[in-house]
Symmetry: C2
DNA sequence: GCAAAAGTGTTGTCCTTACACCCATGC
DNA sequence: GCATGGGTGTAAGGACAACACTTTTGC
């Protein structure tokens, strides 16, 4: 564990180039991580939010965040928040951006590093302990606490770009999914309508889809085939995989 | 201006949800910014580095960084470092990633946010005051101080991706440049050989090039035409500009 | 039998690639 | 006059976009 600066400073011989002395001269800043946890439901992109517990932001929605612990790196802190809030840990999670406007937090300066996560809202291990924790349709969310509205917008743009580089949409779906569901994910995130035949052709030609012998059930029309995502094929092919363009 | 936390804390009625109290409970962390400043010279991608002044890293190369000042946001801190070291401020500069391994700095925990910058090494206002500040060919740099080798590699990958999204290569060249120079930039960054005719066709069709009536001078062969980058055209076209693929 | 969505191929267009010869300059 | 790189067009192949009819299920 790293001692508070003043404890160490006096024990160190003076030296212009001493590393600890140098670090002690920096103004330390409270750090947090915030997680933008995306899901997909009813053909809409969703985000998991909570009511802010600060009186300044009463009834406003907030991202899921926490302080960064002493000696904890940011990836671990983000994963800890995710696990604590959803019960899930084997989940897509990636650093997006660090936000640092000095007045972004009413309690004083706080710098926050934002992570985005993609998960299946129907996953059996997804448990939302906190009653205040709810899924919201992303384009119905507005007027969030702190600078979280801005952060959410940055993350949506990030996601739009990112799903065209890699087939991340699978993270938002059940293990077994229909092509229609997959297409719905792309249409919702990119805000476009896609041609069904061309979409199917494109994904079929990628070779990342494994045909299960199962069909959708409980639909009120002709059921579609269910597929799984072939992670092994993907790992092998992604070196020469340049993107998904629509 | 935001007061140091302890000054304010005592003036506030105790409240479980009080913002300042909450922030005061966070462990503050020393923050720095590091700038990966890319240039282009002799057909190679270059990076501006300095000798580390820490005895732990004697004679090792280091990125240009500095602590983040109280009440300064990260973008401003990065711009300040850039200006201080190069004399330039009207320069492409973008946040890339935040690095936070607890042991990445020998003086104790320091979290650093890394920015990448692209500039013209021949620009008249580029002044390297410090004699220890030198341009290095990126693929000859190894064994840097701190985790800076890792950071550099992340930034190179970032740049390879980024120049295929937007025509950033212009930032590395003089205002007037030949198509050969432009092609050299892409070839050096992407580590590929490109077909000259196809390259010229592609850029001509984008419409971002203004033909000057000037020619290269002081070349030992047939001189090429010089072009300028049309920022206005680019701003107008980039809304429906999807990328540069090679 | 009707509503609703699944499944399936072909064609034209556009973009990308591959490729070779003459030209202007310095020496 | 020769070495060096600048400048240019075309043809073939591959990717993408547009498009309609038949099938399966629930009700």
């Amino acid at each position: 564990m790293i001692e508070p600066n003043h404890v160490i400073a006096n024990n160190i011989a003076m030296d212009n180039n001493d590393a600890q002395e140098l670090v002690n001269s920096y103004t330390p800043v409270p750090l947090t991580v915030d997680c933008v946890i995306f899901g997909f439901n009813q053909n809409s992109l969703m985000v998991l939010l909570i009511k802010s517990d600060l009186k300044e932001y009463q009834d406003k929605l907030s991202l899921l965040g926490d302080k960064v612990h002493a000696n904890e790196d940011l990836d671990s802190a983000a994963l800890r928040v995710l696990k604590q809030r959803t019960g899930m840990s084997d989940v897509f999670l990636e650093q997006v951006h660090t936000f640092s406007k000095p007045d972004r937090h009413p309690g004083g300066r706080v710098v926050t590093t934002v992570y985005a996560s993609l998960l299946n809202t129907k996953h059996h291990s997804l448990l939302l302990h906190d009653n205040e924790l709810k899924w919201h349709t992303v384009n119905q969310v507005n007027d969030m606490a702190f600078d979280h509205q801005l952060i959410l917008e940055v993350c949506i743009k990030w996601l739009q770009k990112r799903i065209q580089e890699q087939p991340l949409a699978f993270n938002l779906l059940p293990v077994k999914f229909s092509l229609r569901q997959l297409q719905n994910v792309y249409e919702a995130i990119l805000n476009v309508k896609l041609d069904r035949r061309n979409f199917r052709k494109k994904f079929a030609s990628m070779g990342f889809l494994n045909d299960t012998d199962e069909m959708e059930t409980e639909v009120t029309h002709r059921p579609g085939k269910l597929y799984t995502f072939d992670f092994i094929q993907y790992q092998q092919k992604k070196k020469n995989f340049m993107g998904i363009d629509f």
